[in-house]
């Protein structure tokens, strides 16, 4: 038994290095997508202290809006622009009708309001677009399809899907753009100020309402990108909302307030759960992926309760 746990998996890795590389690549791609979802959570949590339970359904809603508009005859790029506009309208509506009336309410009330938003968006999405899964318009958006095969050794083979490569590139661009936005622009600095201290930010003339609308819009854009990428891998369906919950262990690991944490956490969870499922999963009948992510996160929590990059919790008496 000990041999199966501590030796066998490593022998398998050494025996089939191409397969190990494939597993790491698949974990990396899954991690990038988890990181994108987690990024949406982090943006909103940083600016308003709200844990946005609706981030998962925002991914579905954004993807459905894009595909639904295209099905209605709107050209792909125009549909993309309109989907971005819809996410902007959603952000303004959330700020006006949810955040503003609930300002200064306890965190739990704000969390409950995002749960309410989840059900509202599920209903609205099903009402407008129907419940059937929709195919992502990958080709129409100019995203690459197909794959590249890399031969390793005599019989080794690693298959890289072009859409997965595109997902990684887009994620890197988005994170870089967000980092620039937060650090180099006036609005970005205002946003950081709000994140640090609401009252202090208000006292120097920063509009909380404006910042919240911007941050929800940014989370909407991230949701749209995630919806496109995940939709291209499977389909755009309401089942994606559940996948979005995979961001929770990423957040536990990376910290709720750290953008680099979301990225690094996503990659650790993505690669960790794939390696765990492939090499250790068969020992217990498989299917361990769904809880392994939480195990990894909890182990990290034992050593760093604030997460990898979260702000250190200091309580002074």
């Amino acid at each position: 038994m000990l041999h199966q746990i501590f030796v066998d998996p490593f022998l398998q890795m050494a025996d089939m290095p191409d397969f190990l590389l494939q597993v790491i690549w698949e974990g990396f791609v899954a991690g990038v997508l988890y990181a994108l979802i987690a990024l949406g959570f982090v943006l909103i949590f940083k600016a308003s202290g709200v844990f946005n339970f609706a981030q998962g359904i925002m991914v579905v809603f954004a993807g459905l809006t894009l595909v639904g508009l295209h099905e209605a005859g709107v050209p792909a790029y125009l549909a993309l622009a309109l989907a971005i506009s819809v996410m902007a309208l959603l952000a303004i509506a959330v700020e006006r009708f949810v955040m503003r009336p609930l300002v200064n309410q306890p965190d739990i009330i704000l969390l409950m309001s995002t749960i309410g938003m989840t059900y509202f968006l599920i209903g609205l999405g099903e009402f407008v677009f129907g419940g059937e899964p929709k195919k992502m318009i990958t080709r129409e958006l100019g995203l690459p399809t197909g794959s590249t095969e890399i031969e390793i050794g005599e019989q080794g083979l690693v298959i890289l899907q072009h859409i997965d490569i595109a997902a990684a590139v887009i994620a890197i661009i988005m994170v870089s753009a967000l980092a620039l936005f937060f650090n180099k622009t006036r609005i970005g600095r205002a946003l950081r100020a709000v994140a640090d201290d609401h009252q202090a930010a208000q006292s120097v003339g920063i509009s909380l309402n404006q910042i919240w609308a911007i941050v929800w819009f940014a989370a909407g854009i991230v949701a749209l990108a995630t919806g496109i990428m995940w939709g291209a891998r499977s389909d755009v369906s309401f089942a994606l909302e559940i996948v979005a919950l995979k961001a929770l262990p990423v957040l536990i690991l990376g910290g709720f307030t750290s953008i680099p944490g979301a990225i690094v956490g996503g990659l650790i969870i993505g690669i960790g759960e794939k390696i765990g499922e492939i090499y250790w999963g068969p020992l217990v009948g498989g299917g361990i992926e769904s809880w392994l992510a939480y195990m990894i996160a909890l182990i990290f929590l034992l050593f760093r309760p604030q997460g990898l990059f979260g702000e250190r919790i200091i309580e002074r008496v």
Binding site: G131, K135, I159, S237, E277
Partner: protein
């Protein structure tokens, strides 16, 4: 004063309309349809719900119901959630339903013990508990035209046919990827027994419900294990994702089998041309080239009484829903014949289902010639273990591949009887059958 008169008038009108209800009820029977048009499984649930509803609506519109008795159809949305399904059951129970069609193995497993107590037959068409085919133990449960164990045995039989006989399965590797729920687990005991009996290696790849759209780990395992064949018991968003992942790892699609619930047009369509060769079991016709489907189009779809998307009319799962409702309608018709009553109750319906005998002549009468095989149930056999055939994805649509063939009934039936006895022992005290075995 004016307001008081209005309120009084309203109350009187409400009383008058309530008083009128029994007169309507005498000419109708109540058939609830459990459906899921929302949630993660809606992709599979919507076409089936449309097919089920449209066939019964067509009977109402074309024939005025069944022998002059209109069918009062009501959908209850379960979202493929077992808890909501049980709530639906409790909700419709008070309205004297003729039959319950849970459309979920999880819900079926929950309502099986209730059915005998409440005296409501459960029709789990080609799903649910396989052992429920044993009518002597489960007098209130029906699973025609074939059980999951029949389906799994049919897939193994087809693989054996391609390999040159059951003995050729020795040493082969067969992978089984399944939704990690009651539905997906149902055929595992049979597959494990078959693996021992015929000497093939069986590897299980469970897909948790939360990971339906995130199956890369399972398919990486498939790539590593290199099974000769893959069998899938998927549903909802799991199916198209699995088809895409199989293509991604270059699994030979003609060696990838799905049960009949993994054969939606959107399931294989997700892989498009690359999914060519993917095959599933089937037990009814695909497409619109049947008189019954033409009647549904004329009386329901063209009349604006259907929710179906015209582009998806008569696709595989839509026709599955039609077949399901045909069984309900034929159960009602048979019960009317047996009892001589026009408006039957659930007890009569149970007898009607138990005495279903749909022969070629009846299929022709219904406009279903070539659409479905003949079907005969009995007091002891509530499934029939009827013939199935393979459909193959040609890149755009499903095509019939090969002839109808029988599941391995001679092997499966004794296993079902043993399983029924085990269920009975595990759920002791399970009531002995007291229901009479009617026929005329």
């Amino acid at each position: 004063m004016k307001m008081k008169s209005l309120i009084a008038g309203g109350i009187l009108a409400a009383m008058a309309s309530t008083a009128a209800l029994p007169a309507f009820a005498q000419d109708s029977v109540y058939v609830p349809l459990f459906s899921y048009r929302t949630g993660p499984f809606a992709g599979s649930g919507i076409p089936i719900a449309n097919g089920m509803s449209d066939y019964l609506t067509m009977l109402n519109e074309r024939d005025g119901g069944i022998n002059g008795v209109r069918i009062n159809i009501e959908e209850c949305e379960t979202g493929y959630d077992t808890q909501k399904g049980v709530e639906c059951y409790e909700q419709v129970k008070a309205k004297n339903p003729l039959v319950i069609s849970p459309y979920s193995t999880g819900i079926t497993l929950q309502v099986i013990p209730k059915a005998g107590v409440d005296k409501i037959p459960v029709l789990s068409m080609a799903y649910g508990l396989s052992a429920a085919a044993v009518g002597d133990v489960f007098p209130w449960v029906f699973n025609p035209p074939a059980t999951y164990w029949d389906g799994a045995s049919a897939i193994v039989a087809d693989i054996a046919r391609r390999e040159g006989g059951l003995e050729s399965l020795k040493g082969k590797k067969i992978g089984y990827i399944y939704l990690d729920a009651g539905y997906g687990k149902e055929p595992i005991p049979l597959l494990e027994d078959f693996a021992k009996a015929y000497g093939f290696d069986l590897t299980l790849y469970p897909v948790p419900g939360k990971e339906m759209q995130n199956q890369s780990s399972q398919w990486l395992n498939v790539r590593r294990d290199r099974p000769d064949y893959m069998i899938m018991w998927g549903w909802g968003a799991m199916n198209p994702t699995a088809v895409k992942e199989a293509i991604k790892i270059r699994f030979p699609m003609d060696k990838f089998y799905g049960v009949w619930w993994s054969g939606g047009n959107d399931d294989a369509g997700a892989g498009g041309e690359d999914a060519k060769g993917y095959r599933t079991m089937n037990f009814h016709g695909v497409g619109s080239d049947y008189p019954v489907i033409a009647d549904i189009k004329k009386y329901v779809v063209d009349a604006g009484k259907s929710q179906v998307d015209p582009a998806k009319f008569a696709d595989n799962l839509y026709n599955r829903g039609v077949y399901n409702s045909m069984l309900i309608a034929e159960g009602i018709r048979r019960a009317q014949e047996l009892t001589g009553k026009k408006v039957i109750d659930a007890t009569d319906m149970r007898a009607g289902l138990e005495n279903l005998n749909i022969d070629e002549a009846r299929l022709k009468d219904m406009g279903m010639e070539g659409f479905a095989g003949t079907l005969k149930l009995s007091c002891s056999d509530h499934s029939g273990h009827h013939q199935v055939y393979v459909v193959e994805w040609d890149g755009k649509d499903w095509q019939k591949s090969g002839e109808w063939f029988s599941p391995m009934t001679d092997v499966v039936r004794p296993m079902l009887e043993t399983a029924a006895e085990e269920y009975k022992a595990a759920n002791s005290p399970w009531p002995e059958r007291t229901e009479p075995c009617l026929s005329n």
